[in-house]
Symmetry: C2
Subunit: 360 residues, 2 copies
């Protein structure tokens, strides 16, 4: 019997549905080749639906999504909706309620892709960031007093408990062991770097640092441990990205450094992210926005969505199919596409999807 | 009668005293030329003193420093002292107790200086970041419960009140008006960009955003207002730094983006920062660390310290002298120095100080 994966597809806003359509095309090509099936179910969550119904996410949605093997997301963000509503109501809500506590963001420069950094190529820009995705200052804890008066005070709290920190670090150590530079034959150690701010955020990063060394020493002695301050990390990501192997960090710092990393690997047109619950339902997305002004023009770049699809297959255990998609994308960036920017690829959105699909 | 400024000099750790010595050399040359006097008083705060006496900062120090016109700082950080102790006990304590609520960080690429960014020169990398310096998650608010147990919880709180936000934004608007692109004849508007995370940190950046538009519209209608998310800001700082004019942000985000900006302008060897209390005693520092391994070798680059000195003179009102130092530094980077890195300048620390001093 053929293995079948049930995928919830949320095209979302703007160009989201277009890029996800190309992703599905490529995923189906990979499924056909590698002998599994994908059963796709569309969901219309996003700005349009919110403006029509007043509802960001129906209450039954989260439970319904729990029934799928994975979620494939396009982009959330609508010019007619106040910033924050859809991001919090859809993206962050799904991350939290489905407990997708890992945000996995590979930072890899593909051949032929232009990086804004001097003298850096695919050999130098080749690491991964594991961003904690369930805690930090993202939980909404905080409030405002005397709003709108001269005495207003606003607070947001960064919170972590041992459980959250440990499960994230364990995922990161395992990942470093499996995909670090040594494991990939690209160095003589697998190294996990903790990114924090121990010199100022002593409570929270004190906890991170203690757990890091405690479990690292005991359970992952084969993985080399490093610590970097977040401000210095940003400098090195630009100056010496080759120093990094696998990085792990908190939610807020991860948000910042993963976008910086994405820019160094060519930007929104290529960077993908996975919101992963290793024991539950994960969600994969291109990291770019909904780019509403390009909607329906067949000019947006679908490669990031396609890469997100590959990451989804990898997480589902279809490693050979995932690798085939990644190789196909590498071939397309190396030999076909002129630029990753919308309208400058030298091909339309659908044609890029075709190029990848036919190489899988 | 000659105007005399009383300067407290804290050389600090490692190479701090060496770079500050060159800074003082240049400052004195400028004073001689522009007809004012600098009365320098040395303070030995830093790691050595702490290890000797067990005291980070004597209790009388802050009051004593209040009696000066300005503070000139080398670097804090000693390999024999646990990270956090000196930074919190000296640097952050002085920032807070002297209420230096502005951290001013120009991001300017000088001619001849190498940036890690492709296709960007002094025309493209030419903006300033104003980092709020008194609040945010830097205040130490927070704590840990059940430390060391599986149930440990750690928290840090980001706090801002209207007063802090408004005084910082007013400084930033005034700065944009005075030093923005239009004011400098480099564009047709002075633009202030607020950097935040309104889509997640709704309480804190809600406050920032409201005050930004409220006072901007009423009191600074001539300054154009923009808003950017912090994650996107990092991408643009690498991809399109020419989009920026003056940026203003919170303490934690400012810490991160200013270091990223510093790297794009050539790194630690050139970037300077001012901790400013516009109504009180300010403190100026090169942003690099104490680089202990280079101590006493006459190979560290003093230009960042020299630029910090220029910023000090500017803040004291000695604009012509400050401009003369900056021009001298530009000439030295354009025509003399090979690299900003320690040991690779083609000159020793003292010789670089001489080169700048003789051009002032
Ligand atoms: C849209 C926003 C809430 C989100 C985040 O901050 O996590 C985005 O920036 C991301 O990185 O996925
Ligand atoms: C040393 C540290 C406490 C400090 C900070 O975080 O403010 C430094 O990074 C800076 O930017 O001046």
């Amino acid at each position: 019997m053929t293995k079948t994966y049930r995928i919830a597809v949320i095209g979302g806003d703007g160009t989201g549905p277009e890029v996800v359509a190309e992703g599905c095309k490529v995923l189906n090509a990979a499924a056909a080749k590698f002998g599994f099936k994908l059963e796709m179910t569309d969901f219309d969550f996003g700005g349009e639906r919110y403006l029509r119904t007043g509802e960001v996410l129906p209450d039954t949605a989260v439970d319904e999504l729990r029934g799928f093997d994975s979620i494939y997301l396009g982009a959330i963000g609508h010019p007619g909706v106040k910033p924050g509503i859809l991001e919090k109501g859809i993206l962050l809500r799904l991350r939290f309620e489905l407990d997708q506590y890992i945000n996995l963001r590979p930072v890899r420069l593909f051949p032929g892709v232009e990086t804004p950094l001097k003298n850096k190529g695919p050999e130098q820009i080749d690491y991964a960031v594991i961003r904690e995705n369930s805690g930090d200052i993202y939980t909404g804890m905080g409030g405002v007093s005397m709003q709108g008066t001269p005495h207003e005070v606003a607070m947001q709290t960064m919170v972590y408990n041992r459980f959250q920190v440990e499960r994230c670090l364990r995922f990161a150590f395992e990942y470093a062991r499996k995909f670090g530079k040594k494991a990939r034959g690209k160095g003589d150690a697998n190294t996990l770097g903790l990114v924090g701010k121990t010199n100022v955020l002593t409570y929270v990063f004190g906890l991170w640092e203690r757990v890091f060394h405690e479990i690292g020493e005991r359970d992952y002695p084969d993985v080399q441990r490093e610590y970097y301050h977040v401000d210095a990390t940003c400098m090195w990501m630009v100056k010496s990205p080759e120093w990094f192997d696998v990085l792990v960090t908190s939610n807020m710092f991860g948000d910042i450094i993963t976008d910086l990393g994405a820019e160094t690997q060519g930007g929104m047109g290529i960077a993908a992210g996975g919101n992963i619950n290793p024991e539950g339902v994960s969600m994969f997305e291109p990291i770019g926005g909904s780019a509403p002004k390009y909607t329906g023009m067949n000019i947006i770049n679908p490669l990031a969505a396609i890469c997100a699809g590959a990451m989804m297959l990898e997480t589902l255990g279809e490693t050979a199919a995932a690798d085939a998609i990644e190789s196909a994308v590498r071939d397309v960036t190396a030999t076909k596409i002129k630029s990753l920017s919308a309208g400058k690829m030298g091909y339309g959105t659908k044609e890029v999807g075709d190029l990848v699909a036919e190489r899988v």
